[in-house]
Amino acid sequence: MASTETTPAVGGTGADPAAGDTEAPAAAGGTKTPPAAEATEAAGNTAEATGDAGDAAEGSVRTAKKPSTAESLAGLEAGLDALDTAPARERVGLGRIALSKLVPPLIAVALVLTVWQLAAASDLKPDYVLPGPLDVWKAVETMWLDGTLLGYIWTSISRGALGFLVSVAIGTPLGLLVARVKVVRAAIGPILSGLQSLPSVAWVPAAIIWFGLTDATIYAVVLLGAVPSIANGLVSGVDQIPPLYLRAGRTLGARGLDSVRHVLLPAALPGYLAGLKQGWAFSWRSLMAAELIANSPDLGTGLGQLMENFRVNSDMSGVLATIILILIVGIGIDLLFFSPLERRVLRSRGLLVRS
């Protein structure tokens, strides 16, 4: 029965706007001080309130009778928001972070050193083949006291950093092109990812023939090692962008460069950062390969050349000391620079779960 009354008359909406104009003020007035009489009368009317007379009254009834006035809706919503939002996590103290993050690797290093010391002390091999940790430490100390240590490290780091920056400058537009232009992707996409599996040391002989024993050789090897991994990182970053973001960007009116700047690049940032991180690792590796082989007095002495010189002098302590230095620099730059950057980006997007 009710259904016959509420079944809409198609003409109703068409006629309403004009009526609504005049009746709205009346209804609004009724809302401020809902007269009880009107409310009850209208409440009785609601079932058959189809006549024009009912309209104004009904307006006030809606506000008076329905529990969802503006305030109660706002309150309901605030309650929902509060319930749905995860409570703020307790901040973990710095001391506890240090304890959980620093102690395990320190124990691991101590363990390795102990085993190493035991092996060296047991005279399995002569000292010039297997020096103990203390001998290696002495080699480092000697270089430090000579004042040459930081120079070697700085030569390598500055080469690595410069090579890396140039690689970023080349790899980024290259990656964008491969990611966004179909022909380019078809043409050089497979080569680019194939290049990543080519050990960069394989470029050294070719580079020496091309450029001789110069800095150009070293930088060429670094670039050939790092550019593909940076470009590939960006490509996979772009490929992993949820299509929804691109659609959303388009409906917001982002076209061309705007779309690249405001949607594509920020959306691809996590993958890009992973590529940069790997790019640094490749830069550093390639640099060491190049320095080991391209050794001449004209070139500054970096860690690779230093190690080669130690080898020539059969100084195993020196060789091991240099290996450890190379490792420390590689890990250090990652820990100081790339990892915090990556963590920050991922955390700000809610992609990193604090364990």
Binding site: A74, E77, D84, T85, T251, L252, S348, G350
Partner: protein, 275 residues
Amino acid sequence: MASTLVKDGAAAAPVADKASAPASASSYAARIDHVSKSFGRPGSARQLVLDDISIDVAPGEFVTLLGASGCGKSTLLNLVAGLDKPSAGTIDVPGGRPALMFQEHALFPWLTAGKNIELALKLRGVAKSDRKPEAERLLELVRLKGAYGKRVHELSGGMRQRVALARALAQDSQLLLMDEPFAALDAITRDVLHEELTRIWAQTSVSVLFVTHNVREAVRLAQRVVLLSSRPGRVAREWAIDLPQPRRIEDAAVADLSVEITEQLRGEIRRHGQH
């Protein structure tokens, strides 16, 4: 405040106020005129998804497109949004590029809630100094005053959809397209967002084309429900919903009409099992 609750009829008033806007010169906010869409290569077995659809959305009107899966309602919305082109027929949206809200919030996780809205304003060409106040005003409109600096992942599902609504409104479009925007929300939150959407629609002059497969939702929200048949999508029937706003999804009148529409929808679905 209270005046916002007076909806029916008054809906037309804000539109008339904006008489200077070019869009109001048209008698419609969107005109879908004999639109068909098929996928697949010409010649091979083309799949007809939409067949000769004609729908007008009047300025300030709230229309829901209702249909079972495969009726092409999202396809139709994409066509209206300009994300795809119809195979035949024309679509005219005189108010310029429509705003579009998705089932997923589609907010950018690298921006805060406020900056998401500001990006929409920037792309619309709003001057830099005006963006922040406008974003704050829009957040207040969806009752998320304190959420400006919040990251997307810090917000609940309902809050995200409200920010997405604010971002869509930031486009200042005459037409708001909504593609099952509340389908992924729990019933309580969805209910609240229905009220919010009704309230905001009443406060603005925006026309809404809202796609859903939820009959009650369609009746709860719309002035007009358009039922699409499936495979291919055709306009099966229309209902003008004359019930006063704000309605409740549990209102008897909403339920009664939902029963009627559901029967019709089931009839449409049954036809597909017969061959």
